[in-house]
């Protein structure tokens, strides 16, 4: 059973990593976020920054938020690659083998999440280049990376659930347009909670991106991440994954 998942997951990776152009663009894109969006608060008085952002470098605040947002956007890849497989008949070919439907679903989740993780080292290096100091706390880093993986698993599952029955190229994109921006802006990925009106704080408190961003900030800014954030992300990922298994079993179609 595991063999089927593993070979499909390997296929996802091979297809991603053999396209050098895609990798370059994937690597440049988040760096641009840091460079342009991160620099937009450069001339803000540093007292303002330390009061609201708990750092005098906005990029240090943004970095964990932006990495979390990246894990949201990779959900788009998982469902686009599923639809591509449907379009080219590949899924039909897989469904006529003994491979269980959950292994097909899980391979897409794994592929997209791995794809998202490539951005982590690049972003950290970019952060260093923009003067962010990265503290040495191995356990904290492990927790944060695991948090990002869980976030990626959760969102790529969510995307696949939405597009499971479809073979329409447009669906992943309109879904992305619908959910990505609200999810990003209603989290603390870009700005601190203290900026927000009460109703948005409620949204932010249930938004998994907030938990991943804060987990990262715990590592970078205070060196002391809150472990229960990881628990929240785990529940989010487990729920989405479980739901995805059920939906894949019932609704994954070849075309």
């Amino acid at each position: 059973m595991f063999q089927e998942f593993w070979v499909l997951y390997k296929r996802e990776l091979k297809k991603t990593f053999r396209s050098i152009g895609v990798i370059i663009i994937m690597v440049i894109q988040p760096v641009m976020w840091i460079a342009f969006f991160g620099s937009s608060l450069t001339n803000v008085p540093s007292q303002f920054l330390t009061t609201f952002f708990h750092t005098n470098n906005y990029i240090a605040f943004l970095l964990p938020g932006e990495l979390s947002v990246s894990m949201l956007f990779i959900g788009l890849f998982s469902s686009m690659s599923m639809i591509q497989d449907k379009r080219f008949g590949y899924l039909k070919k897989v469904l006529i083998t003994r491979a269980p439907k959950w292994s097909i679903f899980l391979a897409k989740v794994g592929g997209a999440t791995t794809r998202g993780l490539i951005q982590v080292p690049v972003m950290l290096l970019a952060g260093l280049a923009f003067g962010v100091s990265l503290p040495l706390s191995p356990l904290g880093w492990v927790e944060w990376i695991v948090g990002l993986i869980l976030l990626g698993v959760g969102f790529s599952s969510l995307y696949l659930i939405v597009t499971m029955r479809s073979a329409d190229w447009q669906l992943p994109n309109v879904t992305a347009n619908l959910i990505n921006l609200p999810l990003m802006f209603s989290s603390t990925a870009l700005f601190p909670l203290s900026f927000y009106p009460t109703w948005m704080r409620y949204l932010s408190d249930v938004n998994p991106i907030t938990y991943s961003a804060e987990l990262g900030r715990g590592v970078i800014l205070s060196g002391d991440p809150t472990i229960y954030y990881l628990g929240y992300l785990f529940i989010f990922a487990a729920l989405m994954l479980g739901l995805g298994f059920v939906v894949a079993r019932k609704y994954l179609t070849a075309e």
Binding site: V7, L8, K14, K15, I96, T97
Partner: protein, 323 residues
């Protein structure tokens, strides 16, 4: 024991009846063809038999297992070859076969891959990305990947659609030798008469979701009722004169041409010569029935223009637009 048994298979899409209670049996090691125009129900039959979609009603078993209740057992014993080649172009032959082998749950995929690659003369190209293969090579690899787990039945969907003559005859030979050497049962769909004629042991003619006739190519041809001798003559004679000749079934005169339907042209043509004045015959042509004539006889339509598959048509348009 039969490789495929289908009884009263019904498949509806909403109100549209794709398969109208069809029944047939395919013996072990047989090459069985389903012949019909686009939209007749050929692909739907394959989808049901490979466990991709459940039938609305009826029973079907493949390799001795029920396609609805024992889908996994069926899938372990079948291979599927699509009409368009479905391979990962940026991966090489090994990698493509590894995926297919592991998806079929086999452990010795490496040895088996080497075996099929050798058989299909692809071993020396095995490390080249499949995207750089010729159409014939891609087709071969597609077949190889369907055989890697030694299935007992393979489903071949429109094997030679859009291929040139050489590749087509290469594939026909290949399918025949696979059956002979590996003993697999082949279920293929086609809308080419000559393909069904030269490849299949038995053929089911399907149109609008119904099977119009089943039999060997020769049997189906004999259903049409013999050969036709067509003559241009100068002298007058009465059709009754010819009807009296032994072996003649029917005589028609149109546009100065006499069409004589006979049981066997080879025997009767000599008799006809005797009855008619030899010098009065300007030209003579013998027509043997083809599956084309069979199809026309059975369905009252020519295969080419008998049906338009609107669902497929709109799907193509949609793909073209969004692609």
């Amino acid at each position: 024991m039969y490789s495929i048994e289908v009884e009263g298979l019904l498949k509806k899409y909403g109100d549209f009846v794709a398969l109208n209670s069809i029944s047939f049996k395919v013996g072990e090691g047989e090459i069985f063809g389903m012949l019909g125009p686009n939209g007749a129900g050929k692909t739907t039959t394959i989808k049901v038999l490979t466990g991709l979609i459940p039938p609305t009603a009826g029973k079907a078993s493949v390799a001795g297992f029920d396609v609805v209740k024992q889908t996994q057992e069926v899938k372990a014993r079948i291979g599927w070859i699509s009409s368009d080649v479905i391979l990962d172009d940026d991966l090489n032959a090994w990698e493509n076969l590894e995926i297919q082998g592991k998806l079929q749950g086999i452990k010795d995929w490496r040895e088996r891959s080497e075996g099929v690659l050798k058989y299909f003369d692809l071993l020396q190209f095995a490390k080249r990305p499949v995207g750089k293969y010729s159409t014939g090579m891609r087709k071969k690899l597609e077949i190889a990947s369907a055989l890697i787990h030694s299935p007992s039945v393979i489903f071949v969907d429109e094997p030679t659609i859009g291929l040139d003559v050489n590749t087509r005859s290469m594939l026909w030979d290949l399918i025949k030798s696979i059956r002979k050497e590996m003993g697999v049962t082949v279920f293929l769909t086609t809308h080419y008469m000559e393909e069904a004629d030269s490849l299949c042991d038995r053929i089911a003619v399907i149109t609008q979701g119904k099977i119009a006739a089943i039999g060997s190519p020769a049997e189906l041809k004999s259903k049409v009722g013999g050969d036709v001798i067509e003559m241009e003559t100068v002298d007058g004679f009465t059709p009754e004169q010819l009807k009296g000749v032994k072996g003649v079934l029917d005589v028609k005169v149109t546009d100065g041409k006499v069409r004589v339907k006979v049981e066997s042209a080879d025997k009767t043509v000599v008799e006809l010569m005797r009855v008619l004045n030899f010098s009065s015959i300007k030209s003579l042509k013998i027509e043997k029935p083809t599956l084309d004539t069979v199809f026309m006889e059975l369905t009252g339509k020519k295969l080419d223009d008998s049906e338009v598959d609107y669902r497929k048509f709109y799907m193509t348009i949609r793909r073209a637009r969004s692609g």
